[in-house]
């Protein structure tokens, strides 16, 4: 099981190509964190991940898919990742 994130953090899970790009399966990021800031933050940490992985991926928070606002786009009701949340980067699936 994934360990609980430290206080003031959320967990972000990296699957498939996201895991290859970051060389990790999970890490803790400071939270609360507006969802609209997530991809920018990851791009700062992992240069090129936005074009290489994130632009083709979906995102879940606590097992529910969420719409990630585009760059500079102001969502009417902005989603904020909360402390203790489990966020996952979901690249295109390939079961079967």
């Amino acid at each position: 099981m994934t360990p609980k994130p430290p206080k003031g953090h959320c967990n972000i899970l990296y699957f498939a190509s996201a895991g290859s790009y970051t060389s990790k399966n999970v890490e803790a990021l400071p939270a609360p964190l507006p969802l609209s800031k997530l991809f920018g933050l990851l791009e700062e940490r992992y240069h090129g991940i936005r074009a290489g992985v994130l632009d083709h991926s979906l995102v879940t928070i606590n097992l529910t898919y969420v719409d990630v606002p585009g760059a500079g786009e102001e969502g009417a009701e902005e989603i904020v990742i909360q402390e203790g949340d489990e966020v996952a980067i979901i690249p295109p699936v390939s079961s079967g």
Binding site: T60, V93, S95
Partner: protein, 166 residues
Amino acid sequence: MSTQDDAPDSPAESHLSQQNCHVALTHGPLNLQTITDLIRSPQAGAIVIFAGTTRDTFDAKPVSHLSYSAYHPLALRTMLAIAADLARAHGLQGIAMVHRLGAVPVGEESIVIAVSAAHRQAAWRAGEAALEACKARVEVWKREEFAAGGGVWRANRDGVAGEREA
């Protein structure tokens, strides 16, 4: 085995069941008989079983083995939703879907779907629909490891290779 096989959440076997729907993820070889027995019913006149097996080439490049990883809780939840929708839509007696994770040698089953219905037409249709829905939606990822070294994450959506790695 790569670290991708082992995380973030990877019990040896996990499963969910609800009424006549059974879904599971397992690291061991798939047993057709055991999976079929889950959906046997005296009301069924037909059982359709699909076994997806691992191919030895990708773009004509020899593949040594495949390895699958999953977002366990979400993949199980998606599989169960697919199963329940199809059971209702096709009036199935039962449906079972099991996906293997970790390294799967070439030629072995990576997914088995078994459905039972009163009549064969519903069983055929539901079996095909179940596989297509799985491939489109279930949070499982396949990595093909090439015999010559390196590997690639596949994407069902477009049938092409994902990110290439050295």
